[in-house]
Amino acid sequence: MTRLRSLRRPRASAAKPVWGAVFQCLAALAALVARPFRAALAAPVARPFRAALARLCMAAVLLGCGSVSVLLAQDPALVTSDGWRLAEPGYTLQFPRDHGSHPEYRIEWWYYTGNLDAANGRRFGYQVTFFRIGVDPAPTNPSRWAVRDLHMAHLAVTDVSAEQHLTAERFDRGGVGWAGARQGTLDVWNGDWRADVDGETHRLQAVDGSFGVDLRLEPGKSPTAHGDAGLSRKGAEPGNASHYYSLTRMPTTGQLRLGDDRLDVTGTSWMDHEFGTTFLEPGQVGWDWFSLQLDDGTDLMIYKFRRGDGQPDAFSSGTWVDPDGTTDGLDHDQVVLVPGRRWTSPSSDASYPVDWQIQVPSRQATLTVDALVDAQELDTANSTGVTYWEGAVAVSGRIGEREVSGRGYLEMTGYSGRPMSEVFR
């Protein structure tokens, strides 16, 4: 991991913020070289990682605000030298409070994906994501434009029958409130893209020019707290973790905008909300992530790193959610992922496996995942510059003797350009 192993006093590491990024990378490298075995021996921890994480962390590092060291302040909470709180045990997720923003943590996101059907039988996939990237928890500049947080948002709509994948992104500072996130309840926005609640119902509005969604999402199953009561540990050191929960099956209705068409749609969405401060993970080339909703009521999330050295990654994991909401963590060695047919992006030349086979031996599950449309690549050149594949998929297969099918979303990163661990630099 990229964090220094030693705990420091705040002033001991008062490096200029601009040099923070460089310092952090050097420190990470030093830590890696000095303790090659320790990392390998680290206990595998259930921790879902997302491409978003990488993007956020990269943004944070680029902006020179990567946390360099960790200290134990008088406050019982763990706080980094530059003032961000670290995720640690003892935090109890409460709703609707924890749908809201947690500005004391550096990184936070609200991640909506889903599969939708129009009345005329057309199928669609959508993705709306809001990110908050902390830059400076207490800017000294009293200007309203001083950057405390940066706000990033991605929107994508897949028109399955037209094999069309439309994307848009936004990247803004809070400024005069043109982007932001409220505390205490779900209300996060970037320009006129917004996610908030009406009672229990989530409202999701994101239209960019000629396409977008305006949806109402019912909570469905109660929130799934990942890891240890919502604390998703990411390493052996205290604080190297995030608070993380999902709404895995949200009945969805609303309108989908596509050119001049305004289509009434229904379907199922998946929402992730995660906040924490330290995340980085060098040595990883990229990752593949699945969120699957099966027609028997089972939801499955699987996440696997691809390492440069070909070794299995200890941090890969998954969560099995039974129809009644019971959850079961999956370790990296409990899941087998086999990539199949590949699609090569004409714009980035990246070759993505768009068909997968998933085996979960402990559940006697064998599933096939097929991309509904091959071309579901996002190029976020205007914000982070990371190219990744995120799109709607169809699932079929067996659990034990039962035939199952379903829908879901697949995310693949690190197939284009530099390995993610280099992007971090």
Binding site: T140, P142, R144, F171, G175, G385
Partner: protein, 861 residues
């Protein structure tokens, strides 16, 4: 064509000095007109290039009332995104101190690069080497720190600044340490201002420029660039009170309008030189006609038509004008360099801070040079050319057909009547109102007076013939008598060149009187108004544009000095006023201090102080004379001023004299200003000391107390007065320069006229030599003639000049600038200039005198 070559070209080449003088006259005329045009364009362009940098791909911009766009109001303007991309901007100027200790002015752009990326190109050197542009995020990463600044590669390499090197930004009185985080490539915005550009994050810019809570403007790049009219209208309708939407070019137009009167008057002045230069063309063609009457006669006898003869001489004029205009083009560009230097002091002191550069010559300039010079030259040459075409073959062969000398008293009377009519017309024109803020009728009035003066010239010459003889004979004996006789015999020939000289000298006298009066007035005003002991201003503070502010810390240190008894905090902002959006200056002063210590000179009402006392803390203002005149506002009127809350009424309680700006000043009490425009740091402090304190000592002590972290200019009363007069004199330097050129050309005109006369009288002169006149006597005679013409022209010029100066002071000045100037005669200057003219014309007579002595006996045969 052959005829033209043999008859005209050969003659021109035979007398190269005269030809050169003529071409030089036209050249100077064209050059001066062009130089002023280029300099005027340059000063506006200097501003507009800065505008371009900031405008980028902006289609529309939101601006606020005077102090800018409040952040708080912007929060509710999220709907702007329906129209296009939206980017907040702080655009200011600062000074940068390079590592070598030198200081340079810079345009500073404070933006949110995340939003601004689509508006402007930001190509950074360090990324270009990797073959790509930085992403918005990478740019932001460079700028986020409050010490970060991005400069241009051109600027950095010029001043030895390295990437990640340290520099200091001087903004207001503060000196900020900064680190150069990036270098913009020499393209796009970096190039148009010659690299004098610094890029900051908008939050950092707000902090450094004391603009927390305010933006200078919000720019919009429309999604549909074609729908700009619709967008402008609908946005205007949706904007809250206090905000306006405009096109970026609007700011350029405002500045153009602001400078229009100043530029118009310069342009008018520049044409005098051209007109005078064209008198030379007249002279040359006249000489050409006269010196070759016999040849013309021969040509006519050989069957050449009158048309051909006319064409020949018009061709000569056209040739001279063409050569003059051709040489005038580059000369004008060179002169413009000087003109820009001379005018930029004024423009910077009174209007806008802009890096004025001379724009390159364009086709328009070429067309202007030829389009003005050629027709005017042909018109000027028409009279002598017609005269030449009327030469009869026989008369020419006889050599007896000389232009008859007008010895007709009726002619004089008629000329006097014409002059009277001109003067009457001028008087009437002087009473008319300006057109669009420009004194067009006033200018017409001066032209009428000039016409009248020209018409008076033959009358004056006739008078000289009648009464001048006695004096000349008494003073100069026989040479005087001969000179008198010669001049008397050539009144018709002399009229035009003397008129040219009279006009130039009259303009000089008028301008000298106007400037002298103005200077007296300003000196008196400065003496009355500048009562304070010390004047504290932030570095680089100008009278217009966003002025840098004085920090609270610096102000406290000044106030803490034991000798300081009172401080008037002054702050000015530009504010569009009235239906045309004239950029006026809105000022905020501490009225209580002004009332107790200050010395404003009130025009109205009689007890201005009592009236001003009523304005303390109230929604009431005192306005400058220029504002009252230009906007047609009187005491007790209510005016509407834009405020961040929308238009608000303010009562005008008094009008005061002010010569610091012709744009018009509206001044309100500081608390009133703060109530409407928010609390703003002052841009200047006027400091009053205890009677026993020595201002110079206190100044030194204050500077020491402020230390190296604060950069303030502290003027004592004496140095500020000297500075005011220095700026004043700098402003009028160009006026004198233009006039000097016109007079130089006019004197050349006298010389060529005399040459004409001398050539015409070659037989007489030869005869004089035959009857025993010495070369010295002949020379003396011609020099006396020249001097006579000079003195006479100066006499009439002075008289007409006084009349013209009245028009300048009471009509043109009032209409252009709105200032009351007390008339006063700069006697010494006028005496000196009279002597100078006499000496200069005497010297100008030397060349024709030498030619005159060359005619020997053979010429008489």
């Amino acid at each position: 064509m052959t005829l033209f070559r043999q008859f005209i070209l050969r003659a021109l080449l035979r007398d190269p000095r005269r030809s050169l003088a003529t071409v030089a006259g036209v050249t100077l005329g064209v050059a001066v007109v062009l130089a002023i045009r280029l300099a005027n364009t340059g000063s506006i362009r200097g501003f507009e290039t800065a505008l371009d940098v900031v405008a980028g791909k902006t289609s529309l911009e939101i601006v606020g009332a005077g102090v800018g766009v409040p952040d708080a109001q912007l929060a509710d303007l999220g709907w702007l995104r329906e129209y296009g991309l939206v980017s907040p901007v702080i655009a200011r100027t600062a000074r940068l101190r390079a590592p070598d200790g030198t200081e340079h002015p810079l345009q500073v752009l404070g933006v949110d690069v995340l939003r601004d990326r689509p508006f402007r190109e930001y190509q950074l050197l360090e990324f270009a080497q990797g073959g790509r542009e930085p992403s918005a995020q990478e740019l932001l990463a460079l700028l986020l720190d409050s010490r970060s600044v991005v400069l241009t590669e051109r600027f950095a390499s010029r001043h030895g600044i390295d990437l990640d090197g340290s520099v200091q930004l001087i903004i207001g009185d503060r000196v900020h340490d900064a680190v150069v985080r990036g270098l913009l490539l020499d393209e796009g915005p970096a190039r148009v201002v010659d690299g004098q550009l610094a890029l900051l994050d908008v939050a950092v810019a707000q902090l450094l420029f004391d603009r927390i809570g305010w933006l200078d403007r919000v720019e919009i790049q429309l999604f549909e660039a074609g729908a700009i009219d619709d967008a402008e209208q609908t946005i205007a309708a949706r904007l809250p009170d206090g905000l306006r939407v405009q096109r970026p070019a609007q700011r350029g137009r405002q500045v153009e309008k602001m400078l229009a009167a100043f530029h118009f008057n310069l342009t008018a002045l520049s044409y005098i030189a051209l007109v005078v230069g064209l008198f030379l063309v007249y002279n040359t063609v006249a000489v050409s006609v006269i010196s070759r009457r016999r040849e013309i006669g021969t040509l006519r006898a050989l069957g050449t038509t009158r048309r051909t003869v006319l064409g020949l001489f018009l061709g000569e004029a056209a040739l001279l004008a063409a050569v003059g205009a051709t040489v005038g083009l580059p000369t004008g560009w060179l002169l413009a360099q000087g003109a820009v230097r001379l005018t930029s002091t004024t423009v910077n002191a009174l209007y806008i801070t802009s890096a004025a550069t001379v724009p390159p010559l364009t086709l328009v300039d070429v067309l202007l040079a030829f389009g003005v010079a050629m027709p005017l030259a042909l018109a000027a040459a028409a009279i002598p050319a017609l005269e030449g075409s009327r030469v009869t073959p026989i008369a020419a062969v006889r050599g007896a057909d000389r232009l008859a000398s007008q010895d007709d008293p009726r002619r004089s009377r008629r000329a006097a009547l014409v002059a009277a009519a001109f003067f009457g017309l001028g008087g009437w024109l002087a009473t008319l109102d300006p057109v669009g803020g420009l004194p067009l009728y006033g200018l017409a009035a001066t032209l009428a007076v000039i016409g009248g003066a020209a018409a008076l010239v033959p009358v004056l010459l006739a008078l000289l013939r009648r009464v001048g003889r006695g004096v000349l004979v008494r003073w100069f004996k026989v040479e005087g008598m001969l000179a008198h006789a010669n001049l008397s015999a050539s009144i018709g020939r002399l009229t035009v060149s003397v008129a040219a000289l009279v006009v130039s000298l009259a303009m000089l006298a008028a301008i000298a009187i106007m400037i002298g009066s103005f200077r007296e007035t300003v000196t008196y005003w400065v003496g009355q108004t500048l009562r304070a002991d010390l004047f504290v201003a932030a570095a680089g503070r100008g009278p217009a544009g966003p002025s840098p502010t004085i920090s609270a810390d610096a102000e406290q240190r000044v106030a803490a000095h034991p000798a300081v008894t009172a401080i008037d905090q002054f702050r000015t902002v530009d504010l569009p006023y009235g239906p045309d959006g004239d950029l006026i200056i809105l000022g905020a002063g501490t009225f209580e201090v002004l009332l107790e210590h200050g010395g404003l000179l009130f025009k109205e009402p009689a007890d201005g102080r009592a009236a001003m006392a009523k304005a303390v803390g109230a929604d009431a203002v005192v306005v400058s004379e220029a504002f009252a005149l230009k906007q047609g506002v009187s005491v007790e009127d209510t005016i509407e001023l834009d405020t961040p809350q929308g238009a608000r009424p303010f009562q005008v309680v008094a009008i005061y004299y002010d010569y610091s700006s012709d744009r018009g000043l509206v001044v309100m009490d500081r608390p009133t200003f703060a109530r409407h425009y928010g609390t703003q740091r002052p841009g200047g402090l006027t400091v009053y000391l205890t009677p026993e304190a020595d201002p110079e000592t206190v100044r030194e002590e204050l500077l020491a107390a402020l230390g190296p972290d604060h950069r303030l200019f502290i003027n004592t009363n004496a140095t500020l007065r000297a500075e005011v007069i220095r700026i004043f004199d700098a402003t009028f330097a160009i006026t004198y320069a233009l006039e000097a050129i016109a007079i130089f050309v006019a004197i050349m005109g006298v010389a060529t006229t005399l040459l004409t006369l001398v050539l015409e009288r070659r037989e007489e002169l030869a005869m004089l030599r035959l009857v025993g006149a010495g070369r010295r006597q002949i020379r003396r005679m011609v020099v006396i003639e020249a001097t006579m013409l000079g003195v006479l022209s100066q006499g009439l010029g002075l008289a007409v000049g006084v009349v013209l100066s009245l028009i300048l002071i009471y009509v043109i000045n009032v209409q252009s600038f709105g200032w009351t100037i007390q008339f006063s005669l700069p006697v010494w200057f006028l005496v000196r200039s009279t002597l100078l003219v006499a000496v200069a014309t005497a010297l100008a007579g030397l060349y024709p005198a030498r030619v005159a002595t060359s005619f020997g006996g053979e010429a008489a045969r």
